[in-house]
Symmetry: C2
């Protein structure tokens, strides 16, 4: 299998966590042409986003879809709870993290620089992000794992998104963005020490800093 | 089971299509307090969006999560293809329709009125919506069903979203928004005549017009 995308992408990190947990072999490559919007990569994934998984004839974009596919084709060790209600709660945590936490951060990226910031847009964006974090915290069940007593697909998705919550919020003077959400904050600390999730987060940090440094 | 939400919501319509296809009994109710942001409904779903499914002890928001849960607990007749690659393509179509078609429409709702329209925001929004429709058309396999030769979860999700594509684009003078995408256009016509999907779309139309009329 081949996985396209840089390791600092939270969506690439989600798939890398799942692949590492299952002990699956794969090659990771940057998009041909260097960037997700390069013409050569758009031939692979017309949406121009990472990751894309190539597995034989199948070319599959969208991290959540990739994770469900890998779970369908390489079910052991399982990352979907056996109980349907727990499985639904795991998918719900993923969805809330994607739509209302990560989704709330996209409009904030153009507002990171205080010199060019639209103050009203930044305030609205930060409020939306805080609301999303509150919902995520509410749907999380524990401090060790998102749902139930074991690792699920939710634990592949949430930690890389929380990495970016810290990065984004630090630009707005908040260096402890989870301090009012003790469950989510403890979860973040636990995941950063987890034998599978921790190294993926470390690799995000290293590659993200290198990317920022290369842009000067 | 109880399903909260008005029938014109594309996310409620997705779940209604799945429930109808499976012949499942349920009660449908508007959110208590009348609106998704009412305090009584926020106690059920803090996100304040519809639908929410209540099945025994489980209170489950987010239409995509609800559909996966219903497929896990009421698997027959199946709406997930047996082949994992086809199953992934069905989930991909759903995801693209959610993120890049429906997601592109949200910023357009405040721009529907030409008198108060931000022209640049409207143009950017329409361009994003057209891009999303192009990707959706590219990932769709057929004119009769989204993936393979039978109904899947993608066919629960896409038609209600295409309903709103027609509504939104009509405000920008485009009454045939799928005319450059013949596969998607033929699919829309076929789905509007489908014995399960057609009545759900008709009910969307009736309830949406009634809601608009009630707002005057």
């Amino acid at each position: 299998m081949k996985l396209y995308g840089a390791s600092f992408s939270p969506f690439v990190a989600r798939v890398r966590t799942l692949l590492a947990f299952k002990g699956l072999d794969y090659q990771q490559e940057l998009p041909p042409g260097g960037l997700p919007k390069s013409p050569d990569y758009l031939k692979i994934n017309p949406i121009g986003k990472v990751p894309t998984l190539v597995d034989g004839d199948l070319i599959l974009p969208e991290s959540e879809v990739i994770c469900e596919y890998l779970e369908d084709t390489r079910p052991e060790p399982a990352l979907r709870p056996a109980d349907p209600a727990a499985r639904a709660r795991s998918r719900l945590v993923n969805r809330v993290a994607d739509l209302y936490v990560m989704g709330a951060m996209f409009p904030l990226f153009p507002q990171l620089n205080p010199a060019t910031r639209d103050k009203a847009a930044a305030e609205a964006g930060v409020a939306a992000l805080r609301a999303g974090l509150g919902w995520l915290d509410g749907f999380m069940e524990g401090e060790e794992f998102a749902v139930g007593g074991a690792m699920t697909m939710a634990d592949c998705a949430v930690p890389p998104i929380l990495f970016f919550v810290h990065y984004v919020m630090s630009h707005f003077g908040d260096h402890e963005p989870l301090r009012d959400l003790p469950k989510l904050d403890a979860y973040w600390v636990n995941m950063s020490r987890h034998p599978v999730c921790g190294p993926v987060l470390d690799e995000m940090d290293t590659t993200f800093k290198a990317m920022l440094a290369s842009r000067g």
